[in-house]
Symmetry: C2
Subunit: 352 residues, 2 copies
Amino acid sequence: MPQEKEHNRRVILASRPKGAPTKANFRFETQPVPKPGDGEILLRTVYLSLDPYMRGRMSDAPSYVAPFAVDEVLGGGTVAVVEHSNHPDYQQGDWVVSQSGWQDYALSDGRCLFKLQGPVLAHPSWALGLLGMTGFTAYMGLLDIGDPQPGETVVVAAATGAVGSVVGQIAKLKGCHVVGIAGGEEKCRYAEEKLGFDRCLDHRQDDLEAQLKQHCPDGIDVYFESVGGKVFNAVLPLMNTKGRIPVCGLIADYNSSGELPQGGDRLPLFQSAILRKRLRVQGFIINQDYGDRFEEFFRQMSQWVAEDRLVFREHIVDDLEEAPEAFIGMLEGKNFGKLIVRVASDRPGEQK
Amino acid sequence: MPQEKEHNRRVILASRPKGAPTKANFRFETQPVPKPGDGEILLRTVYLSLDPYMRGRMSDAPSYVAPFAVDEVLGGGTVAVVEHSNHPDYQQGDWVVSQSGWQDYALSDGRCLFKLQGPVLAHPSWALGLLGMTGFTAYMGLLDIGDPQPGETVVVAAATGAVGSVVGQIAKLKGCHVVGIAGGEEKCRYAEEKLGFDRCLDHRQDDLEAQLKQHCPDGIDVYFESVGGKVFNAVLPLMNTKGRIPVCGLIADYNSSGELPQGGDRLPLFQSAILRKRLRVQGFIINQDYGDRFEEFFRQMSQWVAEDRLVFREHIVDDLEEAPEAFIGMLEGKNFGKLIVRVASDRPGEQK
């Protein structure tokens, strides 16, 4: 069932996942399209961004943002078109970045909208990736916390993902030796051949640590952390003195049950490494920590895009009904590039 | 056997400790007092600083500084008097901070000496504590990494120790709510009554976490880490968003065997806290990281001392022969204040 004018399809959080989410955690419902009141705008979703952080919000464990409510529509970043506006700053046909969530239509009072203008309109979905939240995450985490210097070695987890692919490319622009880590030969080849990484290693191989050591002969100065788990374990022994670890995610742990993993406690090892190597380990949430620097990011990134110095791959899934399966697959590393749901035609004014 | 003019008593690392050091790891020997050559200075040790970091250097595991060599004299910071000088910048009777180690006499070529002048001569041993390495560690770790703001809550481990006692007092000078953690009722009372902490909790009590929660009603903004272990476990759940954890030591782990502690792996929990709470966790080694800021520290700290705004307690042990036992006890928390060995009389020119 495609998007239509009369009905608003919504994806509801039916229940909280225990461990990996399943389709049973999602429910579809259809409602009438809401009517905008005074000062309100009716938005029609064109693209929905699917991102790993959403897994955290599906749980009610304390997290950095409030959990999604059960029986409510799932939240998420979207690129939308203004269908009707009672707001002086917006008019029909405007393209915006909004937080409409997993649904066809949403109302907005104009707050927290970001109007798309200029070259980004050629790729509106990039406003959710390269020029949006994930690119912003890559840019600030790498440059502000990672502070990479020419000649240093930068290791990037999830190297072909929406964040990692941009981290590695910016690190190359800064003159670093860049080694990516990704799942599978195809992704690794892509990172080396298209993204220009010096090397990309497959974390599915048994000898990840040995390979990493071989390809980081001078150790690791910056590790951009977004996965945790065994990739982190392989990286830690190779971190150099005064190394930096920006932490923007821990996808390997998102589906964990909450029980402590069995085996010895590696926490003292990590603490000891922080002390001995004088590491700086810092978590960040892009909008909370760097919201006031979005313009700086957008200007610099748009310039690099205009100069054709960045490659960005999207994994586009058609139709809102495919969103749950695409999301479940993303947590297993099945996507290849920034995962985006094309909810409707991206040609203005045309229904899909 | 006291210090004398003809012989140089030396404490030798006889063997590397496994776990907690024992007296069998130390050996005493006596050598002739060395003769200074051209450009050299003969230093006579008056005070020897005993510090937890030395435990790390007794092992040959990779650490932030080279290990002590077996069958060599143990290293360490000292306050010494120039007995004889063939160096134009030093003359007999000068007091200096040196790295003479665990022995009565040492030669120096003048490098890495710091001449004591002015008010500190009233308390020369303070040059190893309040106005020396441990005070410097407290000052930079708290102010540069911890960045405490008025009204914030600062928690300090090893609250009556050489570093912790100064951290807490500076935090009070900065207008913070300060909660210390120490071992035993006497130390806790001292921290509250003499050091002016708002509260000091005994980590030997079973309900440390509950008490910490009660006395940090607004959570913890800065945790100054020097112990690790169970104190850290109690602190972590209470850390506030954007909290800072300077790490200058992990005394609880220094005597560990190197095997992973049994029980579940808490590393993912820590990583998750770093991410969710956007913590900054940063290890530092005072001289390597802040060597160029010693003057700034010394000037500010000397001023606070002159204004009588800081209290500093020393635990002075007489005689070099007591050094091994005092050191072993320090790792068990038996000292109360900065541990110093008075190797010889501290009145210039007088042998003890």
